[in-house]
């Protein structure tokens, strides 16, 4: 047995795992019956369907040929995830201005074409724009500065 369609194989496994998580979590809730459907019933049904599809997709990957899984480039995705999470942390404690600085400074690392001076300029522009448009023009309630 050889995996001939690796993308399908891993996609199938992903779906099986996702279905398993939801079906297992559903066990904490009331199943009810078909007449009075409890909160667990519908997710369990959909989860079973998803698991079934996952099994078919994974099984099929031994029978039909498919392209290999493309390379995962660690830098863009990891840096992006860090930058976005950091935005949340900094926004909660230090306000929007600091959060934009952190997000852009870190995100710039994701591209190897970024230049330090340009990034500094971009930060300035984006701070002016986001504070001006979102906080002042639209009046959205975003904390701008650290609370003292």
């Amino acid at each position: 047995m050889r995996i001939r369609a690796p993308k399908d194989f891993w996609a199938g496994l992903f779906f099986i795992a996702a279905a398993a998580v939801f079906m297992l979590l559903s066990r904490q809730y009331n199943m009810g019956n078909m007449h009075r459907m409890g909160p667990a019933l519908f997710p369990t049904l959909v989860g079973a369907l998803l698991a079934g599809l996952g099994v078919i997709i994974a099984a099929r990957s031994f029978a039909i040929d498919g392209p290999p899984v493309p390379r995962f480039y660690a830098r863009p995705i990891l840096i992006s995830l860090i930058a976005i999470s950091l935005f949340g942390v900094v926004l909660a404690h230090f306000g929007l201005v600091a959060a934009v600085v952190a997000l852009v400074a870190v995100a710039a690392v994701a591209s190897n074409e970024s230049k330090p001076l340009e990034v500094a300029g971009l930060i300035a522009v984006l701070i002016v724009f986001s504070v001006g448009v979102f906080a002042w023009l639209l009046g959205l309630p975003i904390p701008l500065w650290p609370e003292l």
Partner: protein
């Protein structure tokens, strides 16, 4: 006559000066963001959603519609000048549009795209005005069983007509449904699948989901491939097509509009399918079979008209049934819900100003795009020159701020990061995100309708097959699956969607 009266009423709503201003701002911002390469309409609408939070329902929806058309049009501009489709529905426009640009006819290509879109928009607005009310009347007679089956049909149709593997798309729908169920169950009050986070009691934010799958993951993918793009640098010159161009493309525009209007109503149709179908059709019937793929103006006129017509008529199922036919409409439904409106057939009778105001603003929006875009082409071209290394951090900033402002919860920013990770893996495994978004929006509605159906019928599952309309929807869904599973049909579909 009644339709005309309704349209006049709608015009009265849409022509109030503030709604006009919102429509204008929407079109302008939509084009502005839509022109940027690599940002499709879904990401554009999601990113610009916060701009509508302070508004009432009618102006918010009018502005969003403007953003949507603007984004569509902006995508076409990018397709013609840079040869990068800003969105999937302008893929075919790149074929002849970019060839025209290379032959020094970028101006007429952009012009015919704007004119074709405008004509298509006018006709499609009438289609919406005529066909939406009877459909809503019909929908009001639907019971929960019919609704449930209709949603099943809608999801299957969306999946079959979309690109990629059908079985993976159905799996994505199921995964989307499950994600949609996260949060408080309205019937029992229990909080489901919250992973111990009280912030998830309200569910996963659909803005975060849309931005993660259509915005951030796209950026990350683009960062992985730093292709040199072929940006058009010459002067555009006059955007007015010659009389000859207009003559040649008139019937292409008409055919594109017709096809687009029909395909837009279908679930899963919308702009993407419309533009592909229109291009294929023109290529087939073109007499003499001139130079399609080498810069034939009809190869721009037809798909551009079709995608605009389809973009517009895809509002019909959204407004009358509350069922999204594509991810953008799913976002519109989400936006309505943020405004406290449950989309469905009752909107037309309970909130006529909302419905007819929106329909009228479709036409006004199209007119605005025509007057806005032709003179502003120069500005859009300058935007194209902004390098991606400056663009992508800005996209991140707007996505993060946008997600935060939905509920003013920092937690949603973390959800955005988590969903981006999931979306990245799925897209690497060739799992299309569009079905997931549809399942996400429809999941809770399906559960609710199924519950009601079971409640009235004492748990008798056969009700879905014994009520004629419900059975018809399910049979149609099953037929679609059978048809697509036939090897000969599958080959045809793959060819049609590949080109």
């Amino acid at each position: 006559m009644e339709t005309l009266g309704n349209l006049a009423f709608g015009l009265g709503v849409a022509l109030s000066w503030q709604n006009l201003v919102y429509c204008f701002i929407g079109c302008f911002l939509g084009t502005l963001v839509g022109v940027l390469p690599g940002i499709g309409p879904v990401a554009t609408v999601a990113m610009l959603l916060p701009f509508t939070f302070g508004l009432g329902p009618a102006p918010a929806l009018i502005m969003l519609a403007g953003i949507y058309y603007g984004a569509q049009y902006g995508g076409s501009t990018t397709a013609i000048l840079v040869n990068i489709p800003g969105e999937s529905s302008s893929v075919v426009t790149t074929l002849d549009g970019h060839q025209m640009a290379r032959k020094g006819r970028a101006g007429p290509a952009l012009g015919i795209s704007a004119i074709g879109s405008f004509i298509a928009g006018c006709i499609a607005t009438l289609v919406v005005a005529y066909f939406a009310p009877p459909l809503a009347d019909l929908a009001l007679k639907f019971g929960p069983a019919e609704y449930f089956s209709l949603m099943v049909f809608g999801l299957i149709a969306a999946v079959v007509l979309a690109r990629g593997s059908v079985i993976k798309a159905v799996a994505m729908v199921c995964f989307g449904i499950l994600l949609g169920l996260v949060g408080t169950d309205v019937n029992s009050g229990s909080i489901r699948f919250a992973f111990g986070a009280p912030e998830l009691a309200d569910g996963i934010g659909f803005v975060a989901l849309a931005m993660a799958f259509f915005g951030i993951t796209d950026v990350v993918m683009n960062l992985e491939h730093t292709d040199k793009t072929d940006v058009y640098k010459d002067r555009i010159g006059s955007v007015l097509p010659s009389l000859d161009d207009l003559k040649v493309s008139f019937w292409s525009i008409m055919r594109g509009t017709g096809l687009g209007s029909i395909l837009g109503i279908l679930p899963g149709g919308g702009a993407l399918l419309a533009s592909f179908a229109a291009y294929m059709f023109e290529k087939k019937i073109a007499k003499p079979p001139r130079h399609f793929g080498e810069g034939d103006i009809r190869g721009v006129a037809a798909p551009e008209s079709a995608n605009n017509a389809g973009a517009q008529t895809s509002f019909i199922p959204m407004l009358t049934l509350g069922i999204p036919s594509n991810p953008t409409m799913a976002l519109m439904i989400g936006a309505l819900m943020i405004q406290g409106i449950q989309p469905g057939p009752q909107v037309m009778t309970e909130r006529p100003e909302l419905f007819w105001g929106l329909v009228a603003s479709m036409w006004i929006g199209n007119l605005m795009l025509l007057v806005l875009n032709l003179p502003l082409i120069g500005l859009w071209v300058k935007l194209l020159a902004v390098p991606y290394r400056l663009l992508f951090p800005a996209i991140f900033v707007f996505c993060c701020i946008g997600v935060y402002t939905v509920d003013n919860k920092v937690f949603d920013v973390y959800v955005l990061a988590a969903l981006t990770a999931v979306g990245y893996i799925l897209i690497k495994l060739d799992c299309e995100p569009a079905p997931l978004i549809l399942g996400f929006i429809l999941g809770p509605m399906m559960e609710e309708q199924m519950r009601r159906a079971m409640m009235i019928n004492f748990g008798d599952v056969t009700i879905f097959f014994t009520r004629p309309l419900s059975a018809a929807f399910l049979i149609a869904a099953a037929a679609l699956i059978v048809v697509i599973a036939l090897p000969s049909m599958r080959a045809k579909r793959d060819v049609a969607l590949q080109e």
